[in-house]
């Protein structure tokens, strides 16, 4: 039986993210959508980890960001709606 490989996430093409972090809160700018979003510390760390490392699955991200995998999965699904990750 084949076990499906875990989904790998990456920063969305053309997102060309810019960000700032102040006191545990982040703001991210998505260049293509020209949208700005304020994100929590956890969401910001997940996005930055992806921006630095390219593709990663939720478990690896959770390990790198020291967050529970379930939290990272929720974060990824939410920021995917904003077209930050794919």
């Amino acid at each position: 039986m084949d076990i499906p490989a875990p989904r790998r996430w990456r920063i969305a093409d053309h997102a060309d993210l810019a960000w700032r972090q102040w006191d545990g809160e982040y703001v991210f700018h998505h260049a293509l959508a020209n949208d700005t979003h304020r994100l929590s510390d956890a969401a910001g760390r997940v996005l930055l980890q992806l921006a630095r490392c390219g593709e990663k699955d939720a478990e690896s991200l959770a390990l790198a960001c020291e967050l529970p995998v379930s939290d990272v999965e929720v974060i990824l699904s939410e920021i995917a709606k904003l077209d930050f990750v794919a």
Binding site: D16, A18, R20, D23, E25, A31, R38
Partner: protein, 302 residues
Amino acid sequence: MTLKLGDLPREELCRRLARGLTLTTGPFRFRLQSRQAGVAEGLATLYADFPVLEDTDFRDFHVRVDRVRGPRRWFRPQVNFWFDGYAPFTPLPADHAFALLEWGMNWCIASHAHHYLLLHAAVVERRERTVILPGDPGAGKSTLTAALALSGWRLLSDELTIVDRDDGLIVPLVRPVSLKNRSIDIIRAFDARAVLGVAAHDTHKGTVSHLRPPAASVARMAEKGRAAHIVFPRWKAGASTRLSHHSKADAFMHAANHAFNYSLLGRLGFELNAALIDACDCWDFEYSQLDEALGAFEELVA
């Protein structure tokens, strides 16, 4: 020697205004045209210290406030505002002519000066420390700004914070401070020397009157300021004066959401706004007494 609007005898002011008077405010030159006595009165009272340029100089905006045609010329007369011959607003009662000119001038800048980042906030300065005052309507921003300006602070702007895209500094846009409703009497009581224009009643903002900006602020309207603080004022009856930290991320989003052209500038808007927040301490400021508020502001820039 630079000619100031206050140097013009009233007849000469009216004559120039009828054919086109070029007024400088901050980085902008307006060619104002009007035959309305209320406009001449407002300019004479509130813009006396502003430089008037020769008719041949370049102007950024050509604007006119005059009576509308038709029956409204005589029956409950109305005025309108024209920008390059185009009327962006609906007409208003004739006695709102000066207020309409002020709103129209703001509109010209907010709609066209996209070579700057334009935030909706007042700006004052003391000891070379520039303080930005964003504020929701009714928060007491203009009242506080007027009191600070009357207390020796340099007024950079009451309405528009102009951020220079080249150096991130704040470009002054010294103009009369727009006071509404109770603020008018509060400022009259605060300082008997305050020069206020004729009040326009029953506007969409209630009663509106403008405060003449300090001559010293007008004289320095070419000097940019370096932002040090962003203060979100909130007047609350009976509240103690209290300054507390405001989240920088929230300050960023507030500035962006209340900017006139943040989205239009795309990534540049993000970077300019972020650099501004980087450079500033951000505060919530609750107050009920103006004298206590001024004391807190003095400490902020001590």
